[in-house]
Amino acid sequence: MVNYSIQVNKISKRYRIGLEQQAHDTFVEAFSEWISRPIKNYRRLRKLTQFDGDNSNEEENIVWALRDISFNVKPGEVVGIIGKNGAGKSTLLKVLSRITHPTSGQVELFGRISSLLEVGTGFHPELTGRENIYLNGTILGMTKAEIDLKFEEIVEFSGVKRFIDTPVKFYSSGMRVRLAFSVAAHLEPEILLIDEVLSVGDAAFQKKSLGKMEEVSKEGRTVLFVSHNMGAVRSLCSRGLLLENGTLVKDGDVDQVINYYLSNKNVSTAGRLAWSEADAPQDNEIILFGIELFSEAGEVRTAFQIDEGFEIRVHYKIKEEVRNLRLYLRLKTTMGETVFATYEDASIREGFIRKPGSYTAICKIPPNLLNNLTYRIYIGFDSPGYKVLIPGREYLEVDIIDTSDGYRYAKGAFDGPIRPVVKWDVKNQ
């Protein structure tokens, strides 16, 4: 008989989304609306915790974040959960970690469980590094005695030893992340649930954390790992689960699941596309060799923080002189709308000639411009007035994520395709 450490049986989770407000165009309407508003508000708020009746009117306001998810995990298995933004990955981890309750279904877990949905949960800026290690550690489920034992190790790993008795509000954001991750990396539960926490911090620390995670996964602990970083999933996990719109569409060997995910989308989520000369999109004059997404720190990634910029690097080779070469790039939503279009600067002047050779065009996307969404990168080459060289197509997908712990209404996806940081001034007249 096989004993599982996690048994998930037909888990579903529904959420109610906010109801639209009706517009009113007469004073009487506005007035009666003002009078009846408290009652409506009360009903609306009460419904957040009550779901009565399944009439069609109700259905519109309900979203199913998870639908009939079932799987079992053996002790010591390291499972990667992949899928697009909004596929239900985080909700699944929240249900498993008992933060939110399922609408139906049952989960059985054996062992102590710790979830890491964010680094530094509960960090208090006024407390010192030392005090925050204890506070954060106990929040994550450790006892004081366990933290005492590992304290030196945690401080050593974080590299902030000198400032351990300084309030963390004087730390740089990098130091704070390192300290927080060090606490998390020293948890020793039987089951560990991790959500996209490796996407924070600088490159060197990320590498170190990844190493620590690998160590953890070799210790026979059961790990569920959500990430957009296919490289990390591939190297850490043996098994993959693919979620799509709240349902489990693929469960199996990690390579197979990742390949299925990537091939099925026709758009790569790998952060890098490269072709050999034979398969590359090309024309008589030009070959597109590859497209890569680079972080500011210089690594290839598919997901970026909302407040970090990134680069889209396009590698191409000119075989014969091209007149008026124009490389165009569009950022699109997954619904296919163009968010903006941009052109390789040098080549938009009439009469410009690009000589044969290998080129890399780097498009820098500034921080705090995009929304908390998944975008697609559409690229094409032409020579305006003469011919189309390589027709435009969507090649890569990039996820922009907001993991800051902002005020609820200033976090996550806003309305609209972009979320730029705009300066506001409020004057009291």
Partner: protein
Amino acid sequence: MGKKTIKSIRELPRIIINTDNSVKKLIDLRELWQYRDLFWFLVIRDIKTRYAQSIIGVGWAVIQPVFSMIIFTIVFGNIAKINSEGIPYAIFSYTALVPWTYFSSSLTDSSKSLISSKNLITKVYFPRLVIPIAPVLAKLIDFGISFLILLGMMVWFGVTPSIWAAFIPLFILIMMLTAAGAGMWLTALAIQYRDIQYGSNFFIQLLMYLSPVIYPASSVPDKFQLVYALNPMVGVIEGFRAVLLGTHSMPWFYLGIGSASAFVLFISGIMYFRHMERYFADVA
């Protein structure tokens, strides 16, 4: 750290997550015990951060009741000439202000505790009950400090406490149960209905007039005494006055009814809180 050898998975603690709406245990003591260190660090956090980056620091714990006493003595003692049962009005009102300030400030903190811990609730699991209860404990420090001032005033006014002062721990227990009970109710409501948050400050202010802070409980008309005694703070405040100032004998009537209603409030608070806690992360 070597590889852990797990003989059988069935030996490990078992957690079941399902949609069963009933609350199995009113309080899961075993789990709360597991998280005792977290509870302790939350209390310490509340204490340490309250007066961080402040000049007077813990002096604020004294300023609020002392200044209220001064104002009350001028307005109610000297101008309105409210009966203070033969005791100087300053110490008469301060004896009430010490427990009252504790009660109102711990209830205020407790009632907004879930909203201010929203970031924790949506990111990590732990027994939610520790959140509204931690401030009730943390505020005991302020209570202790303002109580020391009260002892100083008793020496100044030459008042000697009776041997019934041994009952003070009971009064403290009643006021803690009341603050925690009301705190659990209000915070569980406030996370879903933010009106509660806005309304509770006002409500607590009104409650002061329904407690014998500026006047003695004896001035309440007889026909209202029973209803009046339902407020547990009546028994607590009159108790403090009785044992410290010797205004009258132990107010068993107020204490009896008051502790019963404090107990009901506490238990029903836990019940409501436990019933609602599964939704906290969704509505926060």
